[in-house]
C-alpha cells in the first residue's frame, strides 16, 4: 500500500489531544502503553483522577529521572507519582468501580478497532508482546471509551479495520478513536471523522483506513485546547443545600448500624426539612437508635431515620433489623409498617451489604447461602452448588447515599473513625449522588493515600457537620 507521505503528529501530541477530552473532575482510567503518556498534559488543578488497573486512584506523571518508589507503579508496571488527594484500593474494588460506571473516561491503547467499535486491546505492544489485560473491563465500564493508537501498524497496515485479526476484548464499546492523523467518532451510522492532523484531508486518512469514513459537518484540524471550566467544588455549604435536589420517590442509602455512630444525622434532619416524599430507604435498621437510647440524655430522642418515617416521607424500607430491641417501645418504622403506611423488604444483614456492593460494582445478581430454606428465600431462584443451597439475590442501585465519615478532603476522599465505618464504606459507591457528612474537611494531600477508605471518586458532595449540631431532639 502506498501511504500518504504527510507528517503525522508525535506520540506526545496524541497524548495532548487525548488529554483535551478530559473534563474537570473526571475519573480517568489509563491503560498500559500510550495512555500512560497522558497525565503530564492534564494540569493537576483540573482535578482529574487517574485510575490504574492495579488500584491506584490519583496518580500523576512518571517520576523525574525514573527514580520512583518501587511500590508505586501504574498500569504498565512502571513507576508513577501520586498527586495530592490520591487513594489506593484493592483489585476487586478497582475493577468494581469500572464495572459500576464510576469511571468517566477509559483510555486504552488499541491494536485494532472495528467500524462498529469492537476493541482489540494492546496485544501487539513492545515488539509483538501485549495483553488485553484490563481492556475488556475498561471498554465495557467507562462512560467514554477512547482508543489511542497509531493509525497504521509498523508494517503499514490499517489498525481501523472492517474485521479484526485478533480476538476482541470488547464488542461495540469504543466511542472515540484518536490516532496520529485523525480523531474519529464511532457512531451507529459508521465512522465519522471529526478532526484531521494538519496537512491531512479526508481522502488521505481514508487511504490508510479499511472501513468507509464520513466527514463530520464541522470537520477541522486537530485541536489541543482543553474545554470545560473550573473544577466543580464537592464541598457544599450546608446540609439543606446538599439535599435540596432529592426528588420524591428517590431510593436512598442511609447508614447507621444501629446506633448514632456512623449516621448522617445532620443530613437526615436536612432531608426532613426538605420534605421529599415516597422515599425508599435502604438501611440496616430503618431507625432504631432513638428507641435503643445509645447514650441519649433523658428527655431527648436521638436523630435517626425515624424522623423521616414520622414525617411521612418513607414509603418503603429495605432493611435487616427494622424492629426495636424493646418490644414495649416499637420503632417509628415498626408502627408505620403495622399501620400499613410503609412497606418492608426484609434482607439478611450480610445480604444487604452484598446487594449494595453488587449494585455499586455492576454485579447484576449473586448466589448466597444466607436465607436459603427460610421465608427470606420465597419467590427467589435457588441453586445447589457443591451440595449447599444458595439463593439468588439482586444488586441494589440507589439515587442518593447519605453517609457519615470522620474526615474528607475537598476531593471527597474519606476516612472513618472506629465502628462508624460499617455500612458507609459499602454505600459510598452505590448511589448516583453520594453526600458525605463529616467532622472536618481538609485540603487534598492531607490524608494519607494508604489510609483513605473511600476514594473521592465515589463521593459527589461533602458537607461539614456544624460544630454546634445536636444529634438529638427534645421529646
Amino acid at each position: 500500500m502506498t501511504l500518504p507521505k504527510i507528517p503525522r503528529i508525535s506520540r506526545e501530541l496524541m497524548a495532548c489531544r487525548v488529554a483535551a477530552e478530559i473534563q474537570p473532575g473526571h475519573v480517568v482510567h489509563l491503560g498500559p502503553g500510550l495512555p500512560e503518556m497522558v497525565p503530564p498534559y492534564v494540569l493537576p488543578s483540573r482535578g482529574a483522577v487517574f485510575h490504574s488497573g492495579n488500584g491506584v486512584l490519583g496518580f500523576g506523571p512518571r517520576p523525574e529521572h525514573d527514580i520512583g518508589d518501587a511500590q508505586l507503579v501504574g498500569s504498565g508496571g512502571r513507576t508513577v507519582t501520586l498527586l495530592p488527594g490520591a487513594s489506593i484500593v484493592d483489585q476487586a474494588t478497582s475493577f468494581g468501580l469500572l464495572r459500576g460506571g464510576l469511571v468517566d473516561v477509559g483510555i486504552v491503547e488499541a491494536s485494532q478497532v472495528s467500524e462498529t467499535g469492537d476493541l482489540v486491546g494492546p496485544v501487539e505492544m513492545d515488539g509483538g508482546m501485549g495483553s488485553h489485560a484490563a481492556a475488556t473491563d475498561v471498554a465495557e465500564g467507562a462512560k467514554l471509551v477512547i482508543a489511542m493508537m497509531e493509525h497504521t501498524t509498523r508494517n503499514r497496515s490499517p489498525r481501523i479495520v472492517t474485521r479484526t485479526d485478533y480476538p476482541v476484548a470488547a464488542r461495540g464499546c469504543v466511542d472515540l478513536i484518536i490516532t496520529d492523523v485523525a480523531v474519529i467518532q464511532v457512531t451507529p451510522q459508521g465512522l465519522v471523522v471529526r478532526e484531521v492532523a494538519r496537512g491531512w484531508n479526508l481522502s488521505d486518512v481514508q487511504a490508510i483506513t479499511d472501513p468507509h469514513l464520513s466527514p463530520a459537518p464541522d470537520m477541522g484540524y486537530m485541536s489541543f485546547w482543553m474545554m470545560g471550566g473550573d473544577l466543580p467544588s464537592k464541598v457544599w455549604k450546608s446540609g439543606p443545600e446538599a439535599v435540596a435536589d432529592i426528588p420524591d420517590g428517590a431510593t436512598i442509602l442511609m447508614d447507621g448500624f444501629a446506633g448514632p455512630g456512623g449516621m448522617a444525622q445532620y443530613l437526615i434532619r436536612s432531608l426532613r426539612e426538605q420534605g421529599a416524599k415516597d422515599l425508599t430507604l435502604v438501611s440496616n435498621t430503618a431507625g432504631i437508635a432513638n428507641v435503643a437510647s445509645f447514650g441519649t440524655p433523658p428527655g431527648f430522642l436521638t436523630i435517626d431515620h425515624s424522623l423521616l418515617v414520622e414525617s411521612g416521607q418513607v414509603r418503603k424500607a429495605i432493611a435487616s433489623y427494622p424492629v426495636s430491641p424493646r418490644p414495649s417501645q416499637p420503632s417509628a418504622f415498626e408502627q408505620a409498617y403495622k399501620q400499613g403506611d410503609a412497606e418492608l423488604e426484609l434482607t439478611p444483614q450480610g445480604t444487604l451489604a452484598e446487594r449494595i456492593r453488587a449494585g455499586a460494582f455492576g454485579i447484576a445478581a449473586f448466589y448466597t447461602p444466607a436465607g436459603a430454606g427460610t421465608s427470606l428465600a420465597e419467590g427467589k431462584e435457588t441453586r445447589t452448588i457443591d451440595g449447599r443451597e444458595y439463593v439468588l439475590e439482586q444488586g441494589i442501585r440507589a439515587d442518593y447515599a447519605l453517609i457519615r465519615a470522620h474526615k474528607a478532603d475537598t476531593l471527597g476522599n474519606l476516612v472513618y473513625k472506629g465502628t462508624s465505618r460499617n455500612f458507609n464504606a459499602v454505600m459510598a459507591p452505590g448511589a448516583r449522588i453520594t453526600i458525605a457528612e463529616v467532622d472536618e474537611i481538609v485540603e487534598p494531600g492531607m490524608l494519607d493515600p494508604d489510609a483513605v477508605v473511600t476514594p473521592g471518586a465515589f463521593v459527589q458532595r461533602v458537607v461539614q457537620r456544624p460544630a454546634d449540631f445536636q444529634p438529638y431532639e427534645p421529646l
Binding site: G55, I88, D90, V123, H132, T136, P167, Y367, T368, D450
Partner: protein
Amino acid sequence: MLPNKVASSVEEATADIPEGARIMVGGFGFPGTPEALVKALLDRGVANLTCICGPWYAGARRTIDASALIASGQVSRVISAPPVAPGPRSGATDPSSEDDRLHLEIMPQGTLAERIRAGGAGIGGFYIPTGLGTAYEEGKEKMNIGGVDCIFEEPIKADYALIRAQAADTMGNLVYRLAQRNWNPIMATAAEVTIAQVDEIVAPGMLDPELVITPGIFVDRIVISGGANDPT
C-alpha cells in the same frame, strides 16, 4: 493454645505446599509480589501446581513472580487475567492448543478479581455483563437480569495464597504500602492457608486498627523476608 503464625523462614512457611496444590500469587508488576515465597517454591521444585494470578508475562524474565513460576514448568494449569504474550496468545483465545504442557483459563482482569473475592466472601457465583459477545463468554451460562444480558461466573478458591504486605503484627493483621495492595487483600480471603511475606513484624497493638487492610483472621502464616525490597 494461640497458634504461632510467625514462620522462621520462607522454606518453613511453604514446606507443606504439596504437588498439585492450587495457589494464588499476589502482585501486579513488582509491587506486592511475594518473591521470596515464590523463590522457595522454585527451589523446592514443587510440581503440577495450579497458579491463580493477575496478568503474567510469557517467557523468561528476571523477576521472581508468578511468571517465573509458570516459566519454570512447575505449573500445569493457570487461571489468570490475559497474559502479556506474543500475538494472539495475549488475546482471549485459549492458547492451550499451542502448548500441551500448560492449560490456561483466561478471563478479564476484573472478572478474575471478582471471582476471587466471591471465593473469599462465600458467594456461590454471580452474574456480570463483562465479556459478552467475545470469546470470554464461550461455554458459560447466560441470563438476562433486569434487561441486561449477563454471564454467570463462579467463585475461585485456592489451597494456598502467597501474598505480600508491608508489615504484619504477630496475629497476622496486615498493612500494605501504595500499589503493593493490588491482589493481596482479596487473595488473603480466598485460600485455605494464606502465607504473607512482609518486611516487618510487630507486636499486636502496634498497627492502627483503622489502617489494617487485611485482618489477621485471614492470615495463617507470616514471614519476614530480609532485603526482598529490591527487584531481583
